[in-house]
Symmetry: C3
Subunit: 156 residues, 3 copies
């Protein structure tokens, strides 16, 4: 049994309550020993965070978006916990996909994704090493700066 | 045995013939008990539908795109049936990804996705509750308004 | 035992060394009998290739991007080999996702994707027939012209 939830606190973060179930779809779905999350936005208490959570990302706002990717990641982890009961039974982070709402000429989506990737490493260590895609999109729901989804393997 | 195919008719829709096999790739692929579809466009009889099927989506064309997402969903379900033989053996809709060709400032991709999500709910009930991502992209093949892909779990 | 690696040479290509491990994430991750790759760029020797590897794709640069999609595909296959030991134990190409950095009005992302799809067919034959999504995005890391990811099923 690992102590991944403790590691979140040690890293200085708090696991938020699970994203609101929208009714028609779910924050996360289990199939076999995999959990797929819905795309998560940098929401806190139901609102896009002020620091890097809204609008298009550019070179100047890169570091704010790095921070926002961690907020979205915590929402994704909360979504997973809502269906698995705990994060401590995660065996492997399989895949992270990050969509960054990007201004033309902004081509550092990978540096934004490093916010989430490095926090995954802090929390899950070797089990947090994942495959990853980061792309720049035109617009996102609610004018969010980014949307993040995870696939993880867990022990049912 | 469920009657999901009957539910499509009850909901007022007709399952179209499976998307044309393109030769180099397939409308859907089975791996284990999962089926992955290719990205499906709002095509009907080989053409993008007039109502919301073409061009970029904006606030004004949101409801048309809601409709188009259902047409693309039906194509995805037809793709699944072409490899599983029936939709009645679907155990779970795992993941829906919707790419919406979006004008700048259009940030309601999630409302467009509700067209497909609500129809999934009508057809599959509790088994239709899925994880979901909706993002706004620059352009899509053939100038389509949206592209939709599914991952489902079925009973082989 | 198939000879997929030989087929790469027969097709006139060379499998590159595996993409550099970035530390925080991995070029590919195994879960069960599936391998997920990270998004791969058209890099050769650590640089975006001159022919179609950089910038936004439009109608004029379509054929160059077709070529670039094959370079990204070879990087994805190298990523898979780095975790499975060989490509000859691949049972099925499950899913290809291609993000094409697209100029406004460019709507032939599917024709760009045919570069990778046709090479998959040359290498893997019937086992190379996959599900596929091709979308046009705003910007990609390093100003790459495209980013490609694979999911494959292999025999552990």
């Amino acid at each position: 049994m690992d102590n991944f939830e403790e590691n979140i606190i040690k890293a200085g973060f708090i696991l938020p309550p699970p994203p609101t179930a929208a009714g028609l779809y779910s924050p996360a779905i289990i199939t076999g020993n995999l959990v797929y999350t819905s795309g998560q936005l940098p929401l806190k208490d139901g609102k896009l965070i002020e620091l890097g959570g809204k609008g298009k990302v550019n070179e100047v706002r890169k570091d704010e978006a790095f921070h926002a990717s961690r907020v979205a990641l915590l929402n994704a982890l909360a979504a997973i916990k809502s269906v698995t009961g705990s994060l401590d039974n995660i065996e492997k982070i399989v895949k992270l996909t990050l969509y960054v709402s990007s201004e033309t000429f902004f081509s550092s989506q990978h540096l934004v994704a490093n916010g989430a990737s490095s926090l995954l490493h802090e929390i899950f260590g070797e089990r947090g090493v994942h495959a990853r895609s980061a792309v720049g999109v035109t617009e996102l729901p609610l004018n969010a700066s980014l949307e993040l989804e995870l696939i993880v393997q867990y022990k049912p």
